[in-house]
């Protein structure tokens, strides 16, 4: 079975031409989540100015769905306030891609986790203590 037979055009498009690959300049929030032993690692860097995410970039080791959701989540968070960004769920990212094959839904969790980790890191660095994740 090729899982990618079930990838939507949007997933393929983001996989082929991922947006925002790299490391954000002057990043003040970094999230590294996943584990290479599980097949996926995502690193998300964000730059927050006046509580708004002005830049987000990613690097991902993972399947096509993991790369596409990484790309999509960077597009979704840029321009949002930190609080707004934290409301983005993995489901929302998957929906924005026109859906993911069922066995690939777990890959989108990586994007949500990376976002939370990056925001946590930003809040810690800037002295805020209300952590985004439990």
């Amino acid at each position: 079975m090729d899982a990618w037979d079930e990838y939507t055009e949007k997933v393929m498009e983001h996989y082929e031409n991922p947006r925002n690959v790299g490391t954000a300049d002057n990043a003040n929030g970094v999230g590294v989540v996943g584990n290479p032993a599980c097949g996926d690692v995502m690193k998300l860097t964000i730059r927050v100015e006046d509580d708004r995410i002005v830049d987000a970039k990613f690097k991902t080791f993972g399947c096509g769905a993991a790369i596409a959701t990484s790309s999509m989540v960077t597009e979704m968070v840029i321009g949002k306030t930190v609080t707004e960004a934290l409301h983005i769920s993995n489901k929302a990212v998957a929906e924005a891609l026109g859906g993911l094959p069922k066995i690939k839904m777990h890959c989108s969790v990586l994007a949500e986790d990376a976002l939370k980790a990056a925001v946590d890191d930003y809040r810690k660095k800037t002295g805020k203590t209300d952590l985004a994740t439990k």
Partner: protein, 406 residues
């Protein structure tokens, strides 16, 4: 356009000559070989016996009645192990195998364990080759069978089957070998190699799916899995799959006929691919034995790149990967894990299975794709960056929940 097929360990396309041989037996010559009262039956019987001889010739069997026709190698492997186990009156006895066998062996062995038999996995080295000293050590008074494959379907590693056979026979033990991947790619001779039981599958040698055979050396008794009309000397009941068997026979004949030229040709393609990968792409690792391997197999880990994403990038070519991301179970390849390949590298592995249809131009096209896409995916890989920065990836605190404290 369909991708270039380079996954010949999974299955092979049927040779048109094989289809031609089968066609009459699907239509006009439809008789049941058990019908002895008319021409229809006799015709079918002649065709089956001819196929049996073709199969025997491919593996060097002295007698065609040593070939038991089955529904494929899964059944052949089951028949070899269970057939030998259950000829014992009680659930007693010991089996030796290795951890990189096909699931048809491993799951059967685990089933037998539940029935009271004992199974030992002999040590293998990091290439997947069985350790003969350890194999000798594992032999017990009640060892019934050693079953070790001729060649591995993922990493291509060949086993020293003649040596294993000698060790088995010195100790009065039966030797079974799953030769599914080896046939048509290297010479296999049950007499010279000393094989007592040998599994064959038609669809891996350009024959039809759903048919195979078990070579059973004269004098070895097996308990049948299927009871009924007493076909195949009572060892395997069921009306014979005449078209399939004729197809297997023809495929065996062609495999023997073309062995020298085709194995040489595929070896050259393999070396072309190997040199291309190793000279054009850095940080790659060959899985399996560098020399003792199938002429049509390569298995590489492309560090810091996940296998599914690489196959997706190279989807012009049909390949397979040991990455967990490509399996429904989300488990990486048990073969790679058994030879001690780190999880990260297992996730980065791609298996290349060359076959008759492949050409040097296809190999070159694949090399261009691989070079370009590995580079693209590495530029996207956080692991590649971390490695460049000197981070020890094996010992990095990866827990996804520790991001509060770094």
């Amino acid at each position: 356009m369909k991708p270039i097929y380079m996954d010949h360990h999974a299955t092979t396309p049927m040779d048109p000559e094989v289809l031609d041989a089968m066609m009459p037996f699907l239509t006009s010559d439809f008789g049941n070989p058990s019908s002895s009262t008319h021409i229809y039956g006799r015709q079918a019987r002649v065709a089956v016996e001819n196929a049996r001889e073709q199969i025997a010739a491919l593996i060097g069997a002295e007698r065609s009645d040593e070939i038991i026709l089955t529904s494929g190698a899964t059944e052949s492997d089951n028949l070899a192990l269970k057939g030998l186990a259950f000829r014992q009156t009680a659930g007693k006895g010991h089996f030796i195998t290795i951890a990189t066998e096909h699931k048809a062996i491993l799951d059967t062995a685990e089933f037998l364990k539940k029935q009271g038999f004992e199974v030992t996995y002999a040590r293998i080295d990091s290439y997947g080759v069985v350790d003969l000293d350890d194999l000798r050590q594992q032999i017990r008074k009640d060892t019934l069978l050693i079953t070790i494959q001729a060649a591995n379907s993922e990493i291509g590693t060949l086993q020293p089957i003649a040596d294993i056979a000698r060790i088995a026979h010195e100790n009065g033990i039966v030797f079974h070998s799953d030769a599914v991947q080896a046939l048509g790619r290297m010479a296999v001779d049950v007499v010279k190699d000393g094989i007592d039981l040998l599994s064959i599958s038609a669809h891996k040698i350009y024959g039809p799916k759903g048919v195979g055979a078990l070579y059973v050396k004269k004098g070895i008794r097996l308990q049948p899995l299927l009871h009924g009309g007493g076909h195949e000397h009572g060892m395997r009941s069921g009306t014979l799959n005449v078209p399939g068997i004729v197809g297997l026979g023809k495929a065996a004949e062609i495999a023997g006929r073309d062995l020298a030229t085709e194995s040489q040709r595929q070896l050259q393609l393999r070396e072309r691919l190997r040199h291309g990968i190793e000279s054009r792409i850095e940080l790659v690792r060959l899985n399996g034995h560098p020399q003792q391997r199938l002429v049509n197999n390569l298995n590489y880990s492309f560090s810091f790149v996940e296998g599914e994403s690489l196959m997706l990038a190279c989807r012009d070519v049909a390949l397979s990967s040991g990455s967990a991301c490509t399996s429904a179970s989300l488990q990486s390849s048990y073969v790679l894990r058994a030879i001690g390949v780190a999880e990260t590298l297992a996730h980065s592995s791609i298996r290349f299975g060359l076959g008759k249809s492949n050409t040097a131009a296809e190999v070159d096209h694949l090399l261009d794709l691989l070079q370009k896409q590995v580079k693209r995916l590495r530029e996207m890989s956080p692991l590649y960056d971390m490695a460049q920065e000197g981070v020890d990836l094996e010992n990095y605190a990866w827990s996804p929940h520790d991001h509060h404290n770094h």
